[in-house]
Amino acid sequence: MYIDWKQYDPGHFFDELIGADGSPRDPASKLTHYLTDLNTEELEKRRKMAEATIQEMGVSFTVYTEEGNIDRAWPFDIIPRTISRQQWDKTAAGLKQRLRALNLFIDDLYHEQRILKDKVVPRYLIENSTNFRPECIGVSPPHGVWAHICGTDLVRDGDGEFYVLEDNLRVPSGVSYMLENRSITKRVLPELFENDNILPIDDYPARLFDTLASLSPRQVKQPEIVVLTPGIFNSAYFEHAFLAQQMGAELVEGSDLVVGDDDMVYMRTIDGLTRVDVIYRRIDDLFLDPEVFRKDSTLGVPGLMRAWKKGNVALANAPGAGVADDKVIYAYVPQIIKYYLDEEPLIRNVETFLCDDDKQRRYVLANLDKLVVKPANESGGYGMLVGPHSTQKEQARFAELIKANPRNYIAQPTLALSTAPTLVANNNLEPRHLDLRPFILQARDTYCTTGGLTRVAMTKGSLVVNSSQGGGSKDTWIVDTEVK
């Protein structure tokens, strides 16, 4: 049996590979053509090969359950998702613009707060924000940049346009999976890389290294860069180890680091104590330094904030950067871009209702069955209400939550998330919803990944793509259709 594209029907959703008329989109034409020539046995063989590759490469993530932590193999769909280079170039420019503006915003909040004085963003939003850190006021990190690594979630709506769903400015994860997805696909579908113009993505670790190195307080040829992980039990430990290895940096835990009376950070090595210049920290602000934040934190390093404030060590992302990835602040990003850059946003936001505003809250409460309600400061898809898929009881519970703490909730229309053909049971191809998380770097220069991590909701009709909640992923191909 061969793939029958006539049987494939994405319905009224925008499909990434197949156009409304049932023929493949430009950047997907070679891919779909190739897939058509594979029979079911061959497809099954490739799927198994991918599975075995993932096991052997040990690509895993940790799921927290009541029975303890489970190290799961990375869920992967072998059919790539394609985007044309032209469209990607525009999108990447928009993402860089967005991060530049957000960094100006954060820097302003911890200094003059011009944007609050000019009443573009209401002051009380910042004062009530759980991610605003008064400890950071007056600190000036290198290049005025606070969020050096940003993972922005994009979705494509029914109109085929990309929209920003959220910005992750604290400790965004997923980039290692983006890179591993490509290595798996190269093993599983090698023929396509010969014939198609798929842009490479593997310069990310080098770019990340350059970004971090440019933050070093010491002007030395080889600054000491470390990746600070909470340890093996963290869900993203695989990624921490992967990035450290790819950059040739040390992977450290809090107990490997110590701050001296000279307010410098050192790591414990076989040579004794060695000074550290840059810390790519993958632990949350509140666990960074028990002297300043949570006293019970054993993951962090006592004195780290002292060292950072004195400029003796760089932290990426800087503490306090999360103030801009609040979902309420998100609603103001178009105004933020205009305010600091005097430019029109190149990528649009999803329409967002702020529960804090009386009028908007009334609309939200009246339409809970149609909207997606999100808490302002959660990540990983937790604590959400997906209106059309919810029960009346859940809606009532959220109504109470919203009324009790309106500042903490936003609502968005349910998007007609785009789909792509995904291999499901019995080697059938069915449309599944997906999103895209590109990663943007900023320090001295700004950089955006070529594509990003595509996450797929593996359950039919589901919109939840988070891997912690059963989502899978696909390789993402930016295809240059103009090169013959």
Partner: protein
């Protein structure tokens, strides 16, 4: 290099060596026991004794038969020295230190662990055991080969070698002890000469049979075997060789800190002249050697793994 990472690499090397040695031991016993006369009281349980597992074994099993011993040595996850436990510890140590190792090392270790776990029943059933154990030994050697062929001779490499050589020396003393114990436990009035069989088997367990024949050029005899395995200067598993290599690896590491203590130990002396030298005194000597090896480990840990300095 981080002290914590150095420690994990050292342990990874020890577990890799331990997994291979365990597979090798079970394989050799499989062969030997077919050759022994029924009257001889050397059984599978001897392997548990060699690995200092007697107490733990009795907590888990009543019968000291082949099946239980092999299960205990290869598959038991309550036995921290079983082959599967060693491979799991190897995997966990590599996993948390893989940023300093070639990425293929992690893949190979992961594959080997999966192979062992998925096929462990083959190791327990006698009919497939040989093929299974060979798979494990080849897997371990493949990893060692990869590391030797791709790792820079940097501190990570030195810690690998330290772990590997110390584990080897330890195993060699245990093999000799097993031989001596076996012969002491036989009935002296038994007419069958077991010496050749037992010492030949000790050599095979340590992959030393052919090197011994080429070096010593006499028939297999207890005193010669003991001297070869303890003191040969070229055989890579002799105690002397392993300790010299350890000292060499240590000399390439930074001698930081005031508490630095030299890794090369002073070995207790014991003259082995004839079969009478291989009695209880010999076993005591081997025990002293194991204490020395533990001391070497403590020095390594003190020099490079612990670090309580406070910065100025």
């Amino acid at each position: 290099m981080l002290s914590r990472v150095a420690e994990r690499i050292y342990w990874a090397a020890r577990y890799l060596e331990r997994a291979e040695n365990t597979a090798r031991l079970v394989g050799v016993y499989d062969n030997l026991l077919f050759d022994l006369p029924r009257s001889v009281n050397i059984g599978w349980f001897n392997l548990v004794v060699i690995n200092s597992g007697t107490e733990l074994f009795h907590e888990r099993y009543r019968v000291q038969d082949e099946r239980n011993v092999v299960k205990f040595l290869l598959a038991d996850d309550t036995n921290p020295s079983s082959m599967l436990s060693s491979l799991l510890c190897l995997r966990e140590n590599i996993r948390t230190a893989r940023d300093v190792l070639p990425s293929e090392a992690w893949e190979l270790v992961n594959e080997l662990h999966l192979f062992a776990r998925n096929n462990i029943q083959q190791g327990i059933n006698r009919s497939d055991r040989h093929v299974f154990l060979n798979g494990i030994i080849e897997g371990c050697q493949g990893i060692n080969g990869l590391l030797a062929g791709t790792m820079s001779r940097d501190p990570a490499w030195s810690f690998m070698r330290l772990g590997c050589n110390l584990e080897r020396a330890d195993m060699t003393t245990r093999l000799l002890d097993a031989g001596a114990a076996a012969l002491l436990s036989t009935d002296p009035s038994d007419p069958t000469s077991l010496d050749q069989l037992v010492w030949g088997n000790v050599l095979r367990s340590g992959s030393a049979y052919m090197p011994y024949r080429r070096t010593v050029r006499t028939a297999v005899s207890g005193p010669e075997v003991a001297n070869f395995l303890l003191d040969d200067e070229h055989f890579p598993r002799s105690v002397r060789f392993c300790l010299e290599q350890s000292a060499l690896s240590a000399s390439r590491l930074p001698d930081s800190g005031e508490q630095y203590s030299p890794v090369k130990p002073v070995l207790p002396t014991y003259a082995i002249e004839d079969d009478s030298s291989l009695g209880q005194n010999f076993r005591d000597h081997l025990n002293d050697l194991q204490l020395v090896l533990m001391d070497v480990h403590k020095r390594i840990a003190g020099n490079w793994f612990l670090c309580d300095e406070t910065p100025g």
